[in-house]
């Protein structure tokens, strides 16, 4: 789960991370008021989950409260398009108004999971403000990686090492070490999956602050972090994905026109892949769960047809513990319950009792397109989607 910058900074401040002074608002008048409190000069920053906000014009420097009001008013009307939002952009609902820092240096620091090491790591680089992937591609040695022992946390000497690797000395080094230690503590205490500070700002006066903050959390741990779970902003998420979550369905919206309904995440990805291999484009990832019950299929179907791009539906179910004939009855029942389905529906069932399963589909009042192998199913779905245009 992702949260906004202003929320991340609140959490980090509680753990002792220094951040610029400022407040979030939905109102240009209040933005001017905050700017006044900050002494006039300030930065107005759009609050959306996607990164690259500056590139889309969502971050503006203001020299006065009046200018802050102007920037806020314009940004709050924006459908902000960044490299991470997709072409439709994201509606801006809030801005963060912060003091403008006297920036001497921009650095990078993050905490995330290193799957290979099986431990969280701190990544730090003196090249702040850039995408860390670009830095990594250009010169991997420019990134320091410091493993964190999950039971011990980041040790003081390790934090000092990170500060040194960032090229800092004296008071700034001590401040950076404290900040990095606080980041690691926040990561472990909140079941975070990522904290990224880019840039980490060193001011002319030698202060070290989190200029930006991106934070996301382990979905599997939200049950024990109600305070974090409460920060979820549904307006930032795809409405169909939100709806899917209510039914315990795993759905990810994609750009194609062939909707897929599959049991199991691996098979669902493989189904998307084979559609592409046969010249089609998947409209989504959707895992209905191993058993693929009639209810799950019905709810999934409702979601899929809610995407206006969809021209054909491909149902690919491997009947394991739940036998294929039972699943076939579930699919037929779901379509009957739904009533007026006009899209072509290709069904590929495999597994135990597959012959009975296919027979049930063929006998159904709804005209399913029955496929036999995965390749056959993909071919039929691609053809059906083309006819559907």
């Amino acid at each position: 789960m992702k949260i906004h910058e202003f929320q991340a900074k609140e959490i980090l401040r509680r753990h002792g991370v220094a951040t610029p002074r400022g407040r979030v608002t939905e109102d240009p008048e209040e933005a001017a008021q905050i700017a006044l409190e900050l002494g006039g000069r300030c930065v107005v920053k759009a609050q959306i989950h996607a990164g690259g906000r500056g590139k889309g014009g969502g971050v503006k420097l203001a020299a006065s409260p009046a200018e802050a009001r102007e920037h806020a008013a314009r940004i709050l009307r924006m459908q902000l398009v960044t490299p991470q939002t997709g072409p439709e952009g994201q509606r801006v609902r809030r801005v963060l108004v912060e003091e403008a820092l006297a920036i001497a240096q921009e650095l990078y620091v993050s905490v995330t999971l290193d799957r290979h090491a099986g431990k969280p790591i701190v990544m730090a680089s003196a090249a702040g403000g850039m995408e860390i992937e670009e830095v990594a591609a250009r010169d991997p040695r420019a990134i320091l990686r410091q493993e964190i022992e999950p039971l011990l946390g980041l040790l003081p000497f390790q934090a000092r090492g990170v500060a040194r690797a960032l090229g800092l000395a004296g008071d700034s080094a001590a401040r950076a070490a404290r900040l990095v230690a606080a980041l690691a503590a926040a990561y472990l205490a909140t079941d975070a999956s990522l904290i990224e500070i880019n840039p980490l700002v060193v001011t002319g006066g030698g202060d070290v602050l989190a200029g930006d903050a991106k934070m996301s959390f382990d979905d599997n741990a939200l049950f024990r972090r109600p305070d974090v779970a409460a920060l979820r902003d549904l307006a930032e998420e795809n409405p169909i994905e939100v709806e899917a979550g209510k039914f315990n369905l795993n759905y990810v919206k994609l750009d194609g026109n062939i909707a897929c309904m599959v049991n199991g995440a691996g098979l669902a990805m493989a189904t998307m892949d084979i559609i592409k291999l046969y010249g089609g484009e998947p409209a989504n990832f959707l895992d209905v769960g191993g058993g693929a019950s009639q209810d799950a299929v019905k709810n999934a179907f409702r979601l899929l047809v809610g995407d206006p791009n969809v021209r054909a539906v491909l149902i690919n179910i491997f009947g394991g513990i739940a036998r294929t004939d039972r699943i076939a009855r579930g699919v037929v029942g779901a379509i009957e319950e739904l009533g007026s389905v006009t899209l072509p529906v290709v069904v590929r069932l495999e597994g135990t009792n597959v012959e009975q399963g296919r027979e049930i589909l063929r006998q159904a009042p709804f005209k399913f397109i029955v496929a036999e192998q995965m390749a056959d199913a993909a071919e039929k779905a691609v053809a059906a989607a083309r006819r559907g245009h």
């Binding site: 990594a136 599997n220 741990a221 098979l267 990805m269 990832f285 491997f318 597994g351 135990t352």
Partner: protein, 296 residues
């Protein structure tokens, strides 16, 4: 022969009194697995269809000599269940539970350093040696045993569930029996890696070839490919699910995500090709490619 799971397996089921625990304990027993005990704290002294239930794994181990555990404990308590199994000295611990927090698995990994057990999973379908024993939720009847005395079994390793069944079913329909099928699970932190399983297959004379099914995310497939190139001389058929997955979006499994430009299917397939694996573009061709690789 096979790996890890066989006639000597004496299984304890942690979380046996739950709905899924009961269902799958009995399905494993029906398949031929010796299910000797169940564990649910507070339910010691009860029995599930003749399987005695104990309060702790240590008691179950003492009373029954169980040497493998299958875990169906809900996510908040599953890490504790894994560590309990390890502390009791159970040699093989297979955790089916999906949705365990990463931080809990980090603690588990740390604990297993001083309390060794072969942990498979979590978030996995389990392990089956067809015709002999199964520990997990996979449908036993789609598998085909290796003919007695034959050395032409196929080993299967996968991060997925139903996609593994798909591969197994293709092999079965082509008459290719499986020595052992191992689901290592779809989580970012798990107990057993591709390389662990490949090493075991390398020491198993009944395994003639391996089907390896990976997913986007992490670098386990690349590491396995490098290991295969250096240490494994039997044919390996490889597939990576998620070529069409956009970066930054989690595809169902907690581990299936292309993050920071790393873990793409293209990179993994390239590494596998470079290591001499038979890489398939289409998941429909896993079985036929294996058959060809074996000269069938």
């Amino acid at each position: 022969m096979a790996i890890w799971v066989g006639r000597d397996t004496r299984l304890v089921v942690q979380g046996i009194t739950g709905k899924e625990g009961t269902f799958h304990a009995l399905a494993c027993r029906d398949y031929g697995t010796r299910v000797v005990a169940g564990v649910t704290p507070g339910k010691g002294g009860f029995a599930v269809e003749g399987i005695p239930v104990y309060d702790s794994v240590a008691e179950a181990r003492h009373a029954t000599g169980c040497n493998a555990s299958m875990i169906f404990v809900p996510p908040p308590f599953a890490a504790d269940a894994i560590m309990e199994s390890a502390a009791a000295g159970v040699e093989l611990t297979i955790c089916i539970t999906e949705g365990i927090p990463v931080a809990d698995m980090l603690r588990v990994k740390s604990f297993l350093g001083s309390h060794p057990t072969r942990l498979v999973g979590p978030n996995c379908p389990g392990v089956i040696s067809p015709g002999t024993a199964k520990i997990g939720i996979m449908p036993g009847h789609i598998h085909r045993p290796v003919n007695s005395g034959a050395r032409d079994g196929i080993g299967v390793i996968s991060r997925s569930g139903t996609l593994t069944y798909e591969a197994v079913w293709q092999l079965t329909n082509l008459g290719l029996g499986q020595s052992t099928c191992v689901g290592i699970g779809g989580d970012p932190i798990n107990g057993t890696s591709f390389i662990d399983v490949l090493s075991a297959f390398a020491a198993d004379p009944t395994t003639a070839g391996v089907v390896m099914i990976g997913e986007i995310g992490g670098s386990a497939e690349e590491e396995a490919a490098a290991w295969i190139a250096a240490h494994f001389d039997r044919p390996v058929v490889g597939f990576i699910a998620g070529r069409t997955a956009p970066p930054g979006r989690r595809m169902g499994h907690a581990g299936a995500i292309v993050a920071g430009g790393k873990g793409t299917a293209a990179e993994k397939m390239e590494a596998m090709r470079a290591a001499g694996l038979h890489v398939v573009d289409s998941p429909a061709e896993l079985g036929t490619t294996m058959a060809r690789a074996l000269g069938r």
